[in-house]
Every structure is written in structure tokens, then in C-alpha cells.
């Protein structure tokens, strides 16, 4: 039998871990597993009947659901554009704002500011800018770029979302890049400077290799964030015009809570999970590998 001390230890172990683990299981683990089950059913969320339909949902999604394919394409294109531009701009900002600028602290705050605000509110702010602000700048300057119907056309609406996501994300990656640049070993940078490295050569041969881990982190962070985009997209365009800017996350939301096809929505969510999990796992493996090499 267990000794009194052993029982005390077990009880103490449970009392420390159980509250977090029980809640975590109910909120995350069980719904996640149930979700996988529902993706093989025709549950509509309202009636109690949940019928097993095998792979029907998946067959439907891959064969007949053109909108899902469009959403996937939109999300992928958006992720590509947003990740590249956000990191490029964020990195250039970090590079400039680690120089001896007189206003650098103020400017760091300015560029970081949009990142604090809820994505939903950012979308609404920019809805006003695109609809009213751009039009008035267009009138004042006669610059045709500002006279376009930004949110009314599929192509410009796409770039509209990209612009807002850069505005939101550039300051965030900037903070990470600044930390990395300030952490570069002083001796190496000084030695290179004394050797006469400057400008491009300094950037390519010294700075970029030294901050590689930060680049990896930022790339994967922004990939995951862009691929899961919902709030900003939802309030800025609502997926329009004509569903041309409907992200995967919005597509799943609509399928489940607007069309009330929970089973189909769960199947889409399952596919979505596989894609996101693959991206994130690749990130972890890659980061760990680099850490060992370093």
C-alpha cells in the first residue's frame, strides 16, 4: 500500500496541476477531438441528429466547393504578399531606428502603435480611410491612385487588406528585429567596421547572418498570423466584393455559423488545422535545428 507520505505527494501533485489541466481539456482538447468526429457527420448545429457520413464532407469540399478553393488561393496569396512586405519594411525600420537618430524612440513608438489596436477596430478605421479619406486626397492631389474604388474592386481590395496588415504588423516585427540588432556581438561589428566594411557589404556579410534566428522567427510568426487572418478581414471588407477577399477563417466561420452546416464547417476546420499545424511544426523543427548548429 501507499505510505501516508506518498499519498500526500500524489494529492499535492493533483492539486497543483488539475485546475489548469481540467479546464484546458474541456475547452481545448475535448472540443478539438469532437471537431474531428463532427467533420465526418452531417450535423447542422440545430437539430440533435448527428449522422455519420464518412468522407462525404471532404469529397464535397475538394470536388464541388469552389468558394473554399478561392478562399484558399486568396489566403495563400495574401500571406505571401503580406509576409514579404511586412518583414521587409519592419527590417528596414529596425535598421534605421538603431542608428543615431535624434527621434528614434519617438519613431519606434509611432511604428509600433497600430499593433496594439484590435484587428477589428483597425479594419473599421481603414474602411473609413479607403472610402472617404482616399477619395478626398484624390480630389486634392488629382493622383489617380487615390481615386480608385479601393474596397469595391477585387484587385484593389486585396491590396487594401495587404496595406492594413503591413500597417499593423511592421512595427511588431520591427521590435523583434531591433532586439536582434542590438544583441549582435559588439566585437564582430566593430572588427568589420575597422576592416572597412560598410553599407551593403556590412548588411549582407555581417548583419543578416547575425540576426538570422530573428528573421526565421519573424517569418514564421507572420506566416501563421496572416494565414489565420480573420478580424481585420471581417471588418474591412467582410470578404467582399463578391467574396473575392474571403479568407479561410471567414469561410469556415460562414459555413458553420451563417449557413449552419456544422459538419461541413468542422471538416474545413480540420483541413485548416492540418495546414496551420504543418507550418508551425516546420517552424519549430527549423528553429531547433538552427539552435543546435549555432
Amino acid at each position: 500500500m501507499f505510505s501516508r507520505k506518498k499519498i500526500y505527494q500524489i494529492l499535492s501533485y493533483i492539486s497543483f496541476i488539475a485546475p489548469a489541466f481540467v479546464v484546458f481539456s474541456i475547452i481545448v482538447l475535448i472540443p478539438f477531438i469532437l471537431g474531428m468526429y463532427y467533420s465526418f457527420t452531417n450535423w447542422n448545429g440545430v437539430s440533435g441528429s448527428v449522422e455519420w457520413v464518412g468522407l462525404d464532407n471532404f469529397v464535397h469540399i475538394f470536388k464541388n466547393d469552389l468558394q473554399f478553393r478561392e478562399s484558399f488561393l486568396f489566403t495563400t496569396k495574401f500571406t505571401l504578399a503580406s509576409v514579404l512586405l511586412t518583414n521587409l519594411i519592419g527590417f528596414l525600420l529596425a535598421l534605421s531606428l538603431t542608428r543615431m537618430l535624434k527621434t528614434r524612440n519617438l519613431l519606434r513608438t509611432v511604428f509600433f502603435l497600430p499593433n496594439l489596436i484590435a484587428g477589428l477596430l483597425l479594419g473599421f478605421i481603414w474602411q473609413f480611410i479607403f472610402v472617404k479619406g482616399f477619395a478626398s486626397i484624390g480630389q486634392l492631389t488629382d493622383f489617380s491612385l487615390f481615386q480608385l474604388p479601393w474596397l469595391g474592386d477585387a484587385k484593389t481590395a486585396f491590396w487594401g487588406i495587404v496595406i492594413v496588415s503591413i500597417w499593423q504588423g511592421a512595427g511588431y516585427v520591427m521590435v523583434i528585429y531591433i532586439a536582434a540588432i542590438l544583441n549582435m556581438p559588439h566585437e564582430v561589428v566593430e572588427a568589420a567596421r575597422i576592416d572597412g566594411a560598410s553599407g551593403w557589404r556590412m548588411l549582407i556579410h555581417i548583419i543578416l547572418p547575425l540576426i538570422r534566428p530573428a528573421i526565421t522567427i519573424c517569418l514564421f510568426l507572420t506566416i501563421a498570423m496572416s494565414f489565420k487572418i480573420f478580424d481585420l478581414n471581417f471588418s474591412l471588407t467582410g470578404g467582399g466584393p463578391f467574396k473575392s477577399t474571403e479568407s479561410l477563417a471567414i469561410n469556415i466561420y460562414t459555413e458553420a455559423f451563417v449557413n449552419n452546416r456544422y459538419g461541413l464547417g468542422a471538416a474545413k476546420a480540420f483541413i485548416f488545422f492540418i495546414i496551420v499545424a504543418t507550418i508551425t511544426t516546420l517552424q519549430v523543427i527549423y528553429t531547433k535545428k538552427k539552435e543546435i548548429e549555432a
Binding site: 497543483f16 496541476i17 475547452i27 471537431g35 519613431l107 489596436i117 484587428g119 481603414w126 486626397i137 476546420a269
Partner: protein, 275 residues
């Protein structure tokens, strides 16, 4: 880096400063237009307001039920943080200090769940939580934030606690302190730096969260700031004078929070990202 303030640096400063202004233009536009009458917004969006229409704010304040939604957001954020900090620090501490097979499996479960996107949980979540009476009330959504926040918070605490030497605790155990007493008296105070990071990351997330409250809080009296703003926009589409004032009211609390805790927030963001 670059030591001397040369002409080149000056030009760089000028360019970045201009870019900074471009970044701020959207704020300028919504602030000045929130103070105009509706017709003035339509006639001239870029101009300075003729006369400040503070009445926009008064009306938006009332129609949003601002004090109520602000309080809802505040209560949800504070209590979610409280339960996350208490239960995740306890769990992480025990997982580190009792290194057995179960601890290892539990830890892997907690952190691997971080890769699950919310969309893959939300549909069954509604069903599970409605059976448990967690839907449509504030304690319910706080419990959900504990569940969703557990992964990252336990992960961050776990990494921090591993670096704390055990000897400090052992001395207290000899003095006859129980395991709860050791944790709360000795260990928890040492966790302050990582607790600050965790509270900041969770606060920004919970305060700004939209989809979970949208699905879970149906009662209009329970709305949070993002939720109330969303319904306000739906109701007053194109009534920009009120909508913009409502937006500004929604943004102000976070700006105040940021200016008080600027250093901690920026540190927290870079620390949280590197993990």
C-alpha cells in the same frame, strides 16, 4: 552603431520621420472627422473641423453603453489574467519539480495544443460549453480564456522555473512549510519578471479578442468593447460621425495602458516572440 550625426544620417532621419507621419495619417483622419458634423465629413474629409462637434462623442458614449462595455472588457481581462497566472504558474511549477513520465506527457499536451487554430475548436466548443452552462455569462468566458491561454503561459513559466535553483525551496521545506506555502511564499515572488510578460501578452490578446466573445456572449449587456463596436457599425453603417467617435472611444483605453507600460510591453512582445 553609426557614431557621427552626418548629413547622410540627417537625410535618413528626415525620410523615416516622414514615413512616421504617413503611418499616423489614418489616426489624424479619424480624429478630425470624429469631431465634424455628418454633412461636413461628406463635403470635406481632409479639412480641419469648422466647429468641434463634441456631441458625437456624447451620443456614441450613450448608444455604445460605453461605461458598461468598458467594465465588461475590464472585468474579463483582469479576472482571466488572475486565473491564468494562478493556475498556470502552479501547474508549470509542479511539472518542472516532479519530472516523471506523466509530467512530460502533460507538458507536451499543453504546448502542442498551441498549434491548433481557434477555428478548429470553435464549432464543438459551443456545444460542449453550453452543456456546462459556460455560454452567455462572464465567468464562462473567463474559464475559456484560462483554457486557451494555458498553453503559452505554462510554456513561458516552465522555461523560467527551470532556471531557478532548487536549494532555495529545500531550505523552506526543512522549516516545515507545506508545498503550497513553499510555492506562494518562496517561488511565486521569484516569478515576477515572467509574470509581467505573461500578463501583458494575455491582456493585449483578451482585450482585443473578437471572435470568441462574438460566439459566446449573446446577451447585449455582456458585450466587450470590440463586440460593441462591431454591432454599432452594423447598426449605423455609413453614419460616420457617430461611428468614428465610437472607434476612438474603443481605442483610448489601450493607448492609456500602453503609455503607462510602454517599456514592459515592448520587452514582453520581444520576449514572448523569441520563445
Amino acid at each position: 552603431m553609426g557614431q557621427k550625426y552626418t548629413m547622410k544620417v540627417f537625410i535618413l532621419e528626415l525620410l523615416i520621420f516622414l514615413l512616421g507621419l504617413v503611418f499616423l495619417i489614418p489616426f489624424y483622419f479619424i480624429v478630425i472627422n470624429s469631431l465634424k458634423s455628418f454633412s461636413e465629413i461628406l463635403i470635406n474629409t481632409a479639412a480641419w473641423p469648422d466647429q468641434f462637434q463634441w456631441s458625437n462623442y456624447v451620443e456614441a458614449w450613450g448608444r455604445l453603453k460605453y461605461p458598461k462595455v468598458f467594465l465588461n472588457s475590464l472585468i474579463i481581462t483582469i479576472f482571466s489574467n488572475l486565473v491564468i497566472v494562478v493556475f498556470c504558474s502552479m501547474a508549470a511549477y509542479r511539472l518542472v519539480r516532479s519530472p516523471n513520465k506523466i509530467s512530460k506527457i502533460l507538458f507536451i499536451l499543453f504546448i502542442s495544443a498551441m498549434v491548433i487554430p481557434f477555428q478548429s475548436i470553435m464549432i464543438p466548443l459551443i456545444r460542449v460549453t453550453s452543456h456546462l452552462g459556460l455560454l452567455n455569462n462572464i465567468p464562462g468566458i473567463i474559464v475559456m480564456y484560462l483554457g486557451f491561454g494555458a498553453g503559452l503561459s505554462i510554456f513561458l513559466y516552465h522555461g523560467f522555473i527551470k532556471a531557478i535553483p532548487r536549494e532555495i525551496e529545500e531550505a523552506a521545506i526543512v522549516d516545515g512549510c507545506s508545498s503550497f506555502c513553499v510555492f506562494w511564499r518562496i517561488v511565486f515572488p521569484l516569478l515576477k519578471p515572467i509574470t509581467i510578460t505573461i500578463v501583458i501578452l494575455n491582456s493585449l490578446w483578451i482585450w482585443n479578442d473578437f471572435l470568441l466573445p462574438l460566439l459566446v456572449l449573446q446577451d447585449p449587456d455582456l458585450r466587450t468593447i470590440p463586440l460593441a463596436t462591431f454591432f454599432f457599425f452594423g447598426q449605423y453603417t455609413k453614419q460616420w460621425d457617430l461611428a468614428l467617435a465610437a472607434l476612438i472611444l474603443g481605442i483610448i483605453p489601450l493607448l492609456i495602458f500602453f503609455f503607462f507600460l510602454q517599456r514592459h510591453i515592448i520587452e514582453g512582445i520581444s520576449k514572448g516572440a523569441i520563445k
